[in-house]
């Protein structure tokens, strides 16, 4: 069992007060907080190891290069990739998906090809595909979600046709919190020879990710959502797929040979890492994933299931509350509205009670449209949140409703 009190001590910001009340940070899907080990790793790097990488022969450059590559290895192991070269460091999930979509738009996608995306995607896993379609004249087809927020593999099966070349789905939607059946979808994609891309931005802080079991060709996530720095992201690509992928950006470090007339490119992953990468970001991600492993995903999941159940119960009891996405299994991430009250008002009042939630469209406008709302309140929890915080959240929500109702 998770010793949450102990774990909270690792996160300096969790002891903060906001508006003279203890901070209740329920905005973890937007970004996670950072444990002291991650902060210490940054200090250590910039105080003792900082150097650029890329063919430096001096000591510091060796150290920095070594740690950067060790971070790549660590990430590859964490998601069970077959080799470190399958890990491309980017600046974020958004950066990963843009790299991929842009590159595919000039190599893999052809006029008339179809890309299937779901109705619940974050803009970062939708707009890059729209752009890729503009560039390649491929078309987007939308897989609608079921009324309970789940995805139907049956319905998906019916959509896959001759021209379907790519299928992308978020492992966990950042609005619904529902865990999609990515393995089942992977089997379907592979049976139909469809390239399969998974957005793991919201699953990486909650669930074990195994790219082999998922059976995806590509998978993307951000460091900042899983305890690491902002500005670092990952694109996993199956080795043979990466080999086929042309670079999206050019610059230092990604070339083989450059002349004014012609440039040849390095092998993956370097081919996709133009310029000086976010070295400290990569290091911080390795430390963050180690921290997750040290605590243990099993204990994390157990604790989060408890949080999920307690939240769910409270939300269901709450009068006039509409929860978006009711299917199971899920992570402790909940979007809702309360009849007759604007989500923005709720967010502001909760904040004054120390409770940080997110309000708005959550970068998922098609999904908001489906529900016919302009936005919602989202409370998203992490393993360092507690049952007591949930109780404060509900008390505050009740007060807000009295005030605003």
């Amino acid at each position: 069992m998770l010793d949450v009190a102990r774990i909270r001590e690792d996160f300096p910001i969790l002891a903060s007060e906001v508006n003279e009340r203890p901070l209740v940070y329920f905005d973890n899907s937007a970004t996670s907080q950072k444990p002291q080990v991650v902060i210490d790793a940054l200090v250590e790097f910039y105080s003792r190891k900082n150097s650029n990488i890329h063919r430096g022969v001096h000591h510091l450059s060796e150290v920095a290069s070594g740690e950067y590559e060790a971070s790549r290895t660590k990430v590859s192991q964490y998601i069970n990739a077959s080799r470190p070269e399958e890990i491309v460091f980017t600046n974020s999930t958004t950066g990963s998906i843009n790299l991929l979509a842009d590159s595919l738009s000039r190599s893999y996608l052809r006029e008339g090809d179809e890309i299937i995306v779901t109705e619940a995607e974050h803009h970062s896993n939708l707009v890059p595909w729209q752009m890729a379609c503009e560039r390649s004249k491929a078309k987007i087809r939308m897989l609608p979600m079921e009324d309970d927020g789940s995805l139907s593999v049956e319905r998906l099966k019916g959509m896959i046709g001759e021209r379907t070349r790519l299928l992308t789905v978020s492992h966990v939607s950042n609005v619904l919190g529902i865990v999609n059946p990515v393995e089942e979808i992977g089997a379907l994609a592979s049976a139909n020879d469809v390239m399969y891309v998974v957005d793991a931005a919201q699953s990486i802080p909650h669930l074990p990710i195994d790219v082999n079991r998922i059976g995806c060709d590509f998978l993307a996530f951000s460091g900042h959502k899983v305890l690491a720095e902002s500005g670092i992201g990952v694109l996993y690509g199956r080795h043979d797929r990466l080999l086929d992928l042309p670079p999206s950006q050019g610059g230092g470090g990604m070339v083989n040979k450059v002349t004014m007339e012609r440039t040849t490119y390095a092998d993956p992953p370097l081919r996709f890492e133009a310029g000086t990468p976010n070295i400290s970001g990569a290091l911080s991600l390795a430390v963050a994933l180690d921290y997750m492993s040290d605590i243990g995903l099993r204990d994390i999941i157990e604790h989060e299931e408890m949080l999920t159940a307690h939240m769910r119960e409270g939300l269901e009891r709450f009068e006039g509350l509409q929860l978006y996405g009711t299917a199971d299994p899920r992570v402790p991430l909940f979007s809702f509205n309360i009849d007759g009250i604007h989500h923005y008002d709720l967010g502001l009042v909760l904040d004054k009670m120390g409770v940080a939630v997110r309000t708005g469209t959550h970068c998922a406008e098609p999904l908001m449209e489906r529900y016919g709302v302009k936005g919602s309140v989202r409370a998203s929890l992490a393993f360092y949140n507690t049952i007591e915080e949930i109780d404060v959240f509900f008390e505050s929500l009740e007060k807000a409703v009295v005030l605003l109702g």
Binding site: H342, Y344, D345, L348, D351, K352, M353, L403, L404
Partner: protein, 137 residues
């Protein structure tokens, strides 16, 4: 006659400062919003809509006898409260007064910090809209 812009704001600041608790202050704000005269449905159009806020905001302005008329609405209660305060302070003034006004009550009540996220900055856009109107009239 109506108090001048400065004393009006001082009154507002005093009434908010008099309340210890943020819940009470928001209560006052929401009540102010409720006192706004109803905003006609037909005026909830694109022309009067302010974009860039998290809530829907409509503002209609005009000039009567050399003084500004302002009516406004929002689907969010707190935004509506702020609109009510702005109208209290700025309506029925000459455009010049409005254009030159220093709106210190927003910061001094503490309402500003929470109502002007630096990016989606709804309140700043609202104030700019009113000032732009005043300046061009």
């Amino acid at each position: 006659m109506k108090d001048d812009i400065v004393s009006m704001q001082k009154d507002i600041v005093a009434s908010f400062r008099g309340l210890d608790d943020w819940l009470d202050r928001y209560d006052l704000l929401v009540s102010s919003g409720r006192e706004l005269p109803p905003f006609p449905d037909e005026e909830r159009n694109d022309e009067n809509a302010i974009s860039g806020c998290q809530s829907n905001v409509w503002i209609k302005m005009g000039i009567e006898n050399g003084r500004m008329t302002i009516s406004a609405d929002s689907d969010a209660a707190i935004t509506k409260g702020i609109l009510a305060l702005l109208i209290k302070v700025l309506a029925d003034r000459t455009p010049q007064e409005v254009a030159e006004s220093d709106l210190f009550f927003i910061d001094e009540t503490g309402l500003g910090t929470n109502l002007s996220p630096s990016r989606s900055d709804g309140l700043r856009i609202i104030i700019k809209t009113i000032r732009d109107f005043a300046r061009s009239n």
